[in-house]
Point group: C2
Chain length 124, copies 2
DNA sequence: CCTAGTGTTATATGTTACTATTACACTATA
DNA sequence: TATAGTGTAATAGTAACATATAACACTAGG
């Protein structure tokens, strides 16, 4: 996994696990990979994994069991709220960023439309 | 100015100056506020200002003159390219973030449309 | 009971970011 | 020529982040 060196790694791992949960790769009740395995997979130190997991635990999304592993405890309700929240934050971020560059509401929508069309073309 | 504690301050200052230039608050040829004044205005250390300015200098957007100050040397051409690049990066960021949450192209556009409408309403 | 696989915790080390402080180089001007 | 206002650079200290390493606590299975 490639990290943005402008943002703490533990935080990017947290976001990565958010995604795993939201996209269903990790479902309620699932056992997560062990901290040591995650450390290998993401090529970071175990302590860095722990830093991310401890925050997710504090947010009641996962729960550790000594000797067993970490388990997803988030409910479907929690997950859908989390997804909505993250989407909203990202939209807000874009909106704020572009407005700060003096891009109008209309242009923002047009530019995004063009960008998405371009992605579709590049895909081919 | 409020900073995001997940991103280096010097980098956020760099982005701030990008905005000043793109929105015309700083025009080609303009003299910038002194490093000491910027440090006071943004409530950071002079060295942090320098860190940002030295990168902007390396990008040929500004140029320092000993004893005189820092001056905007970017051309209109450079500025419009910079603006386009930043807009593109932000669009790409949103697109990537939402696609990673399994949001479809169509939903992305709809969600943004709704978000912008909501902003307009909240404005009143 | 032993062992392998879990989570948890602690220590030491290195790097980067930021601050505070000081000093130096240069320019304009009174 | 002195002074105030510029940029520049160096030092030292603090904090956060990440690493390496080791040890400890618990669980499951042979």
């Amino acid at each position: 996994m490639q990290f943005d060196d402008k943002v703490p790694i533990y935080y990017q791992i947290k976001e990565y696990i958010y995604r795993q949960i939201i996209t269903g790769k990790l479902a309620p009740g699932d056992k997560m990979p062990s901290v040591r395995q995650l450390a290998v997979d993401l090529t970071v130190n175990v302590n860095t994994i722990q830093r991310a997991l401890s925050e997710l635990t504090a947010e009641n999304l996962i729960e550790p069991k000594r000797g067993k592993g970490n388990f997803v405890t988030a409910t479907d309700q929690q997950i859908s709220e989390l997804k909505e929240q993250l989407i909203n934050e990202h939209l807000q971020q874009l909106y704020k960023n572009l407005r700060e560059l003096n891009v109008s509401d209309e242009e923002i929508l047009n530019d995004l439309g063009r960008y998405i069309d371009k992605q579709r073309d590049d895909q081919k």
